[in-house]
Amino acid sequence: MKILAIDDTATLRTLLSHCLRDAGHEVVEAENGADGMAKFEACQPQLVITDLNMPVMDGIEFTRACREHPDGQATPIVILTTETGADLKSEGRRAGATAWMVKPFVPDTLLALVAQLDR
């Protein structure tokens, strides 16, 4: 599966990519929401995993933008964040996020979720 991984922290992004690539997925990395949108348009991923707090464009704004994009309505979006607040989560859901996962993530759990969202 082609996955777009958006995180402003390089190490985390690398860790995420590594974990996904290990499981046989193709990963495209982006540094923030705006970068993510550009990459999304360019490479049409089948799944997006995005951080929440990022400069330029955060994860919720990205989700909203993606859902408004004609190609972005059928792509599951997972928000992977340290945030656990119910309000933020609700906001993410309203923006159109498919799933919410809390960092630090357990690779197996993340991969299981990814597998679930793969159709």
Partner: protein, 731 residues
């Protein structure tokens, strides 16, 4: 009534049947039956209830059924001996399910028996340990031990998603999948909030889910998983121990009743029900000892059971009639077949009236027509159901005939010195009773034939490289609107040269004829053409297959044969499933309306889209799904004149699997038609299997798809028809 409500209704009725079957099993177990079949039957009954309850949104039934099923499973796989089963608990659970079914039927809120669910849970989680607890009287509440809070091994989660669930791309199967890591989830979907099609926005989610998760996981673990895809406010954990409807004041019940010796420690105890309880009634005392936590509704039920059963019980307490106070169900009655036939005829008359109403409704102003149509649609469904039900009254599984055959085979095999195995399948296929009765003789005859003529002697089989043991397969299946019964053997196949020689010597076939293999095989149905070299006791007098053919045709059926030399021979009897009402497509051909049975239709196409062409010799062909098929212009075939108006081709399959294209002028609609025999009132009509009366009182022919290819061939040979073609007139 909308179809869903109808379905729900019939499910509830099914529940009654299943419950009485269940109770029967439990009683058998109570009287000492320990065989696995009884337990299996009980298990199947509760399993069916559970599955249906989930599917139809009667979620309140599911927890009982689920617990019950799990408990019976312990018996089924031998973890608990039947003799040790807590039958009192089982009977009460059956009653509780019965009460829920009753409540669902009357639209009342379901009564709650949390103690039962708990007791079942304990029984199951203890691996049947609770079985040692005293068996409670039926009228009593049963909960062996108050549950340790931590021991909960299941969760009931109600998921009420926001209506943007689909926009978020969360798909319900994911819910189930994500829980599989924790245990065994059972998901039921409540579709009651889904609006009608006209108002349906497919992007909005109107579903609600109930998940029963059989798992040792803690609530936090379950939350963790579910909250990945859901907001906290979309999830509700429903505590099994707390009744959701009324929470009675938490009062510790003290030993006020005589004989109450056990300590009562449950937090939620009976209060409201207490008052209704006849004081000092022996049955209840015993129960109270073992029942620390009894909810209000439950004890009221227990109490109500002790009331005289003269008047309907009050509904306020959520009490509904249960198994115990329902009159014992009469299992079977004997009814004169004539009465059933009369019923069937009446259904036919209703169908005619119904099509008349549909016809008339077309002349009404749109608004009125719409309202009427709604009613008529409901009526249509109900007549269909009525018809099915009447047919079901007459239906019997072919098993009744099939089970006579092993004996026939065994006796005959011994006599012939052959080794034969009879394989049967589809014994549960149901066929009209009259047909069943008429089937026994033809089947016996064909089985005898297969053994005597079809299968070789053991020596012959060995030298042909076949296993010594011959196999005769008897199978029944429903195909379209027909029942097809096949008798196949793996013997030598039909002796074509002998058949042909005999046919020529008897003058059945011209000496210079060049018949195809199939035509030669079909000679087997010709009177007086037995090919057995010696007449034996078994078969071989040549009064065989022709009689079979006659019998089968008298039933409105057909018999065909397929044979492969050296490999075996298969006879197929194709019989009509229903003789009374059929679904038909009304088409127009040269001004006449003709009914094409829906069961034979595969698709309809514009004539231009299937590239009609002609072969040298004049016969026309069309291409249907890449296959070349003969094109039959109905107007020509039935000699109605005015051909060339055809715009539509109906692709149909005959019972031999041939695909034919039938060209008609126009498709007028689709309706149920009453099948009226032509033979009885008029005489056989080529190309028509029967006639019907349309809504405007006109007669229309029902096309006999299966006979068309042969009719075309005949017409090809003889330009002048020798049979009259009926031109329908007003009835």
């Amino acid at each position: 009534m909308d179809p869903m409500a109808l379905l729900k209704q019939s499910f509830l009725e099914e529940c009654d049947e299943l419950l009485s079957a269940l109770e029967r099993c439990l009683q058998e177990m109570d009287t000492g039956a320990t065989d696995t079949e009884t337990v299996n039957a009980a298990f199947r009954a509760i399993h069916s209830i559970k599955g249906g309850a989930g599917a139809f949104g009667f979620t309140e039934i599911v927890p009982y059924a689920h617990g019950f099923e799990a408990a019976l499973d312990l018996l089924r796989n031998g973890k608990v001996r039947v003799a040790d089963a807590p039958l009192g608990l089982f009977l009460r659970t059956a009653d509780a399910v019965g009460a829920c079914v009753g409540a669902a039927r009357s639209g009342q809120p379901a009564p709650q028996f949390p103690d039962l669910i708990e007791a079942l849970r304990q029984f199951v989680s203890g691996g049947g340990a609770a079985a040692a607890a005293p068996v409670m009287p039926l009228a009593a509440a049963a909960a062996p031990e108050p549950p340790p809070v931590e021991a909960a091994c299941g969760h009931h989660i109600r998921i009420t998603p926001h209506d943007d669930l689909f926009r978020r791309l969360v798909e319900p199967p994911q819910i189930l999948q994500s829980l599989e890591t924790l245990g065994e989830p059972v998901l039921t979907c409540d579709v009651s909030a889904v609006p009608l099609l006209a108002a349906l926005d497919p992007a909005r989610c109107n579903l609600r889910f109930d998940v029963m998760l059989d798992s040792a996981a803690t609530r936090e673990q379950v939350e963790d998983v579910l909250e990945r895809c859901f907001d906290a406010d979309e999830l509700a954990f429903i505590s099994p121990a707390a009744p959701a409807v009324v929470s009675p004041p938490a009062v510790v019940m003290r030993g006020s009743a005589d004989g109450m010796t056990g300590s009562v420690s449950g937090a939620a105890a009976a209060t409201a029900g207490d008052e209704a309880m006849p004081a000092g009634s022996a049955g209840y005392e015993a129960a109270a000892v073992a029942a620390p936590a009894v909810s209000a509704g439950d004890s009221a039920l227990a109490a109500a059971r002790q009331l005289p059963l003269m008047s309907p019980l009050p509904d306020a307490s959520g009490v509904v009639p249960t198994l115990k106070n329902r009159p014992a169900m009469v299992r079977t009655i004997r009814v004169d077949l004539d009465r059933v036939d009369r019923l069937m005829n009446l259904v036919g008359e209703i169908v005619i009236t119904q099509s008349m109403l549909i016809d008339r409704s077309r002349d009404l102003p749109v608004l009125h027509a719409l309202q009427l149509t709604e009613g008529i649609e409901a009526l249509t469904r109900q007549t269909r159901e009525l018809q099915d039900q009447v047919m079901a009254v007459r239906a019997q599984p072919v098993k009744t005939v099939f089970q006579r055959m092993p004996r026939v085979v065994r006796d005959l095999a011994t006599m012939l010195g052959k080794q034969v195995r009879l394989a049967t399948c589809g014994e549960d296929t149901e066929v009209d009773k009259t047909i069943i009765e008429e089937l026994a003789d033809p089947l016996t005859h064909m089985i005898r034939n297969a053994l005597d003529h079809g299968l070789e002697n053991p020596d012959e089989r060995i030298s042909a490289g076949k296993p010594v043991e011959g196999v005769v397969t008897l199978s029944a299946e429903q195909r379209g609107g027909r029942i097809v019964i096949t008798i196949a053997d793996d013997g030598r196949g039909l002796p074509r040269d002998k058949l042909l020689a005999k046919a020529i010597s008897r003058g059945v076939m011209a000496a210079d004829a060049k018949p195809s293999a199939a035509e030669i095989d079909a000679l087997i149905f010709h009177a007086g053409l037995s090919t057995a070299e010696a007449v034996t006791d078994v078969s071989g007098r040549g009064v065989g297959m022709d009689v079979v053919k006659q019998n089968v045709e008298a039933l409105g059926g057909r018999v065909t044969v397929e044979s492969e030399p050296g490999k075996g021979c298969t006879f197929a009897l194709s019989l009509p499933l229903t003789l009374a009402v059929a679904d038909g497509m009304v088409v127009k051909v040269a001004g006449q309306r003709i009914i094409v049975p829906i069961s034979s239709i595969m698709e309809t196409l514009q004539i231009a889209n299937c590239r009609p062409g002609s072969l040298p010799g004049g016969s026309e062909i069309v291409r249907l799904r890449g296959q070349v098929a003969p094109l039959i212009r109905l107007a020509d075939l039935l000699e109605l004149g005015g051909s060339g108006q055809e715009t539509v081709v109906i692709s149909a399959e005959t019972d031999r699997g041939e695909i034919i294209g039938i060209a008609v002028d126009e498709i007028l609609g689709q309706q149920q038609v009453v099948v009226k025999s032509l033979e009885a009132s008029f005489g056989p009509v080529a190309g028509a299997s029967a006639a019907t009366i349309l809504g405007d009182g006109m007669v229309a022919l029902i096309l006999d798809i299966d006979a068309l290819p042969a009719l075309v061939a005949r017409r090809g040979q003889r330009p002048q028809p020798d049979q009259p073609v009926l031109v329908p007139h007003a009835a």
